[in-house]
């Protein structure tokens, strides 16, 4: 299938992009296009205009800041991130989410900003962002910027805190995690390339004794937006993790969950598997935090 007609603009600055976004009614921003163009080809989407961000310079970088934060330009490719040594060593959860995202061709074209702004409830990156306490930097015209925490950024399925007529995502910031931290991303799907049936991102930091200092656990595909398993997090705080504790935490973590059913799995299955993945993710993240495992 082929997309319906649209006007095409390829601005070279963020400012021009935002101006066009305001001026052109029904326009959409085009980043990597690996989701957008598919929906347009199926004619599920027919925006009147596309504003292509690929010719804007300075939105494609991975930068370690002095304060230990990692800044990622919105147009940075999945593949660039996945290959980045910093990401591999400091944010294994993000790296695993990227490694299991789409396929090589998608990772060669798709961008982190595009994925987050698209906010597909089954996408790999949103739960990872929530687990890692990412900050999302949003631009308005005249250089205006605001920063939104990943927790607040995702509002509903395919809906973010962005004002679709006025704002665009320009940068993602990942906070430094203490030395004794570990994280992981796990996804269950029938085919490796599929959107997840259930996915979990977990990030845990421990004290020298190995007791959990902080835990962040987020699920995808089980709710309209990434689901924080706060119940699980609180169970873990202050204690060492073992099979039993992880299982208890997982039970608590998915208590309130009422996942949707679709052609791949029912809500029942999603809930059952959520428990399992949360448990496994907690164990792995803790082992990584305590250095038992890389």
């Amino acid at each position: 299938m082929r997309p319906a007609p649209f006007e095409y603009y390829a601005p070279e600055t963020v400012e021009d992009a935002l101006r066009l976004l305001e001026e052109k009614e029904g326009a959409k921003l085009l980043a990597g296009g690996q989701s957008l163009l598919a929906l347009m080809k199926l004619r599920l989407l027919a925006p009147s205009a596309l504003i292509d961000l690929n010719r804007i310079n300075g939105l494609r970088y991975i930068r370690e800041e002095g304060n230990g934060w990692l800044s990622i330009g919105a147009m940075t490719l999945y593949d660039e991130l996945e290959q980045s040594p910093v990401v591999r060593t400091r944010y294994p959860a993000l790296r695993e989410a990227l490694y299991r995202l789409g396929d090589q061709q998608v990772r060669n074209r798709g961008t982190i900003g595009g994925s987050l702004a698209h906010a597909d409830p089954s996408a790999n990156l949103p739960p990872a962002m929530v687990a890692l306490k990412a900050q999302i930097v949003v631009a308005r015209r005249n250089g205006e910027r605001r920063t939104i925490s990943a927790d607040d950024f995702f509002v509903d399925s395919f809906t973010t805190a962005l004002d679709p007529e006025r704002e665009m995502l320009v940068e993602v910031r990942l906070p430094p995690w203490p030395r004794m931290s570990g994280g992981t991303y796990m996804k269950l799907s029938k085919r490796e390339i599929d959107f997840s049936i259930v996915e979990v991102a977990a990030q845990i930091s421990v004290d020298d004794a190995g007791n959990v200092r902080e835990a962040r656990i987020a699920l995808g595909s089980v709710a309209p937006k990434p689901y924080r398993a706060t119940g699980a997090e609180s169970v873990l705080l202050g204690s060492k993790v073992d099979e039993g504790l992880a299982a208890r935490a997982a039970e608590k973590g998915v208590e309130g969950l009422e996942p949707p059913s679709d052609v791949q799995a029912t809500g029942w299955y999603r809930k059952e598997v959520s428990k399992v993945l949360v448990k496994r993710a907690i164990l792995k993240a803790w082992r990584r935090a305590t250095g038992v495992e890389q």
């Binding site: 299938m1 082929r2 396929d103 085919r191 490796e192 390339i193 052609v263 799995a265 399992v276």
Partner: protein, 812 residues
């Protein structure tokens, strides 16, 4: 039942004297591959013609609805739009598509565009032709249709109940056909058997999903009054009547061309509806018209396999001998009989499976539902039937506490019974099946895995082993359709070939087949090289099919694993005749007794005086030009045409007949582990043994085996169509219809035994469809993995949720 009679055996046995066995069996680099690895394949969508226009379709969003009205005015007025047709426009231009079904199902009215009613989601309701495919799609989206949704018929068994909504009112019920098969004294065996084992099984709905969708370019040439149709149909000659009737043009004016075809797996038989529509449009516009299906259209509306539900009972002795089987089966054929209900007879090729079962009864129904029409997807009808047989064998093994491999060993047809006559008249040609099973079990370290399974179970791991036998019955006897419609004038299964030595001594070959990657150019060249003993590289096989230059019969095409038994046999015959003529000319030119002429390495010499020799190139020049040097009275030229005709007969009054020419054999042994917490299955080991008679090219044969296994694994674990109760297909693109990738298909190991068929001159047997053995094996392995829970799988598809529900003892 018993060894076949000597008369019948001699009737079927073929002479293979012309083989030299110098070229058969070699892993020669396939001829086709050279252009394909260079991106120089010739596929339909590659055809670019001046002034070509593009077609797109508006399709029904409903599974079942009345068309109350349609507004095409906006679409018609759009820029670049050349033509907008609805069902009524088609109705004016052609008669309904011919129905092969018996009355009253034959009353069903089938047009390529829906008339008055839509009967499945994705059925075309309007056709747009425009200057580009973009504009054609734009216009199709501007057509307004006013539908009155109707209750959809989605359950084949309920469809037969009185008061069910009707897919075709004109038929009066949803029944397409009903046939009662009874071979041997079933009742006697059921009365006297030690026990009876019963089960219900369901074979699910999926498709072949070739990566190249259906495509056609129709080009009407006014000056010559010739319609050229570039298509990717698997059997163009089978559908020429439909095309000829649709266009009201005689065969000599219809040029149907196939070249490279991007896979088919049975889905590209009924795409003739698009061939008809594009041709009508091309004639109307006096311009070439191209239509290429989108993936969504392909998965929604091209062709599915027929779902099959069977109630199976087996009469069994305490020692595991299976005496007889009684079945009731229902095929869900979808909304139109465009190819079906052939499936309700084709299963009978392997009626009693690979076993010495004495009697069989099958009460068979085929029904209409509001789903996509079905065709012969890879393993057509025999795969689902063997699924029923192999699954009941597993149940019997479990009931008797006998190893599933052992129960099969006890019932397999024995080598001393070959050629073996089945109760339904099938003639199994050759093979040592018990020995093949033994070899497969060794290759897979079956006993080792059984031991490992015990250990792992103690560790709480769920590992299962499936061991299953199957057959690729191949080279179908089309007379089988008479079993549901005795009136059909369509029997046997034939194929044609031309082998010509051109004046330069090279060899040109044309085939009646339209291959989709089965290496016909390669294997045909190998047979010709072998018979004439000329160099493989000097043989040029025409790519694909061309009704203006190829030798054909109405059976011609590539389906039913028919090339090795039928196509290559025609090639052999044509080459052998050419060889004889070359020898005669050589004898004359060499002044040598014909019996002393030896053809060797592209030349002929006289045994009595090897110095006296002449090469084929010179013989060819003589035969075409220097004709006075030929034997007096001999017809010049070196053309050799052959049509191979197997000694098939029509089914007798008890519907007994041999329905295929060769019966290749396979054994699959697969080990699967399921994750007890998520239900995710993982294949740990896969071994397949194949005996497809003489191997012409091992590269081609192994490739076919790999492909068949991949499809089977896909069907068992990944590919399943889901319709909701309103007739919505919930997975009609590659997002949700899960074609497996290289990460899902595990490494596969293939071993061979090689028992030439006495019934084909080359000794090769048809193969490639795989008989669905992989589906049986994987499902069998999963059931085995779950057996500690006493689980029994009914369906041919097991997804993680199904498995987890069994593990958790919770039903959906």
């Amino acid at each position: 039942m018993s060894k076949a009679s000597p008369e019948l055996i001699s009737l079927y046995t073929q002479d293979s004297a012309a083989l030299t066995l110098k070229w058969l069996g070699k892993p020669l680099k396939p001829k086709e591959d050279h252009r394909l690895v260079r991106g120089r394949g010739a596929f339909v969508d590659d055809v670019q013609l001046p002034r070509m226009a593009y077609a797109a379709f508006l399709r029904s969003p409903y599974g079942h609805a009345r068309i109350k009205g349609m507004d095409i005015s906006r679409a018609k007025s759009m820029p670049g739009v050349l033509l907008v047709w609805t069902g009524d426009d088609i109705k004016k231009r052609m008669r309904p598509l011919p129905q092969a079904t018996p009355p009253p199902a034959r009353n069903a009215i089938d047009y390529p565009l829906a008339v008055d009613k839509v009967r499945f989601q994705g059925e075309p309701v309007a056709m747009v032709v425009a200057e580009s495919r973009y504009l054609a799609e734009d216009a199709a989206n501007q057509i307004d249709v006013d539908y009155e949704p109707l209750p959809a018929v989605m359950d084949a068994e309920k469809a037969l109940e009185p008061g069910s909504p009707l897919v075709h009112e004109e038929v009066g019920s949803n029944m397409i056909a009903h046939v009662h098969y009874k071979w041997g004294d079933v009742d006697y065996y059921f009365q006297h058997a030690d026990m009876v084992v019963d089960a219900k099984f369901h074979y699910h709905r999926f498709t072949g999903a070739p990566i190249e969708p259906n495509a056609v370019v129709a080009d009407y040439d006014e000056r010559l009054d010739v319609m050229t149709v570039y298509c990717n149909n698997q059997a163009p000659m089978e559908w020429l009547p439909q095309l000829s009737a649709g266009l009201n043009m005689p065969y000599p004016k219809l040029r149907v061309v196939t070249r490279d075809i991007g896979g088919a797996f049975g889905t590209k038989l009924i795409n003739y509806v698009y061939m008809v529509l594009a041709s009508l449009a091309s004639k109307e516009l006096r311009r070439p018209v191209k239509y290429v299906e989108t993936r969504t259209e392909n998965l929604q509306a091209a062709a599915h396999n027929a779902e099959r539900t069977c109630y199976v009972s087996a009469a069994v002795q305490r020692d595991g001998t299976v005496l007889a089987i009684r079945m009731k089966c229902i095929d869900d054929d979808g909304a139109y009989s465009r190819h079906e209900p052939a499936g309700m007879t084709v299963w009978a090729q392997v009626s009693t499976g690979l076993y010495r079962i004495k009697a069989l009864e099958n009460d068979f129904y085929a029904v209409f539902t509001n789903k996509c029409p079905s065709t012969s997807i890879r393993g057509f009808s025999r795969a689902p039937h063997l699924f029923m047989i192999e699954r009941i064998m597993d149940r019997i093994a479990r009931k008797l506490g006998v190893d599933p491999a052992e129960i099969r060993m006890r019932n397999l047809v024995r080598p001393e019974d070959m050629p073996y006559m089945t109760p339904s008249g099938g003639l199994y040609d050759s093979g040592n099946w018990p020995d093949g099973l033994k070899k497969a079990l060794e290759a897979a370290d079956y006993q080792g895995w059984r031991r490992k399974q015990e250990e792992l179970r103690r560790q709480g791991r769920y590992v299962g082993i499936g061991v299953v036998v199957g057959s690729d019955s191949a080279g179908p006897n089309m007379a089988q359709v008479k079993m549901y419609n005795p009136g059909l004038p369509y029997t046997s299964g034939t194929e044609g070939a031309l082998v010509q030595m051109t004046p330069d001594g090279k060899v040109r070959v044309t085939l009646g087949t339209s291959p989709q990657g089965m290496g016909h150019e390669t294997t045909a060249a190998q047979v010709v090289a072998d018979v004439l003993d000329v160099d493989y590289d000097d043989i040029y096989v025409q790519t694909g099919f061309d009704s203006f230059t190829s030798i054909y019969t109405m059976h011609s095409g590539t389906y039913g694993s028919r090339f090795a038994p039928l196509g290559l046999s025609a090639v052999y015959l044509a080459a052998a005749r050419l060889k004889a003529k070359l020898a005669k000319i050589a004898a004359y030119m060499l002044r040598c007794n014909e019996l002393d002429v030896v053809l060797d390495g592209g030349k002929a010499f006289c045994r009595t005086d090897p110095q006296r020799a002449v090469d084929f190139k010179r013989i060819a020049r003589v035969a075409y030009g220097n004709v006075n040097e030929m034997p007096p009275g001999m017809e010049p030229g070196l053309y050799s045409i052959a049509i191979f005709r197997p000694p098939f007969q029509n089914p007798d009054e008890n519907r007994r007949a041999n329905l295929a020419l060769t019966y290749s054999y396979n054994v699959h042994v697969v080990v699967v582990e399921v994750d007890p917490e998520t239900g995710m299955p993982r294949i740990l080991n896969y071994v397949a043994l194949e005996d497809s008679g003489r191997i012409v090219n091992p590269l081609v044969v192994d490739g076919q085996v790999h492909g068949a296994i991949a499809h089977g694994i896909a069907e068992a674990l990944y590919e399943k169509y889901n319709y909701d109760e309103n007739g919505n297909l919930l997975n009609s693109n590659f997002v949700d219809y899960l074609v497996p990738t290289a990460l899902e298909i595990p490494p596969l190991s293939v071993v061979h035994t090689e028992t030439p068929s006495p019934f084909t001159p080359t000794g090769a047997k048809g193969m490639g469809e795989g008989g669905g053995t992989a589906v049986q094996a994987v499902i069998s392995a999963i059931e085995d993995a779950l057996s500690p829970l006493g689980a029994e799988l009914v369906d041919s598809h097991a997804d993680p949720e199904t498995i987890l529900r069994i593990l958790k003892g919770s039903s959906r």
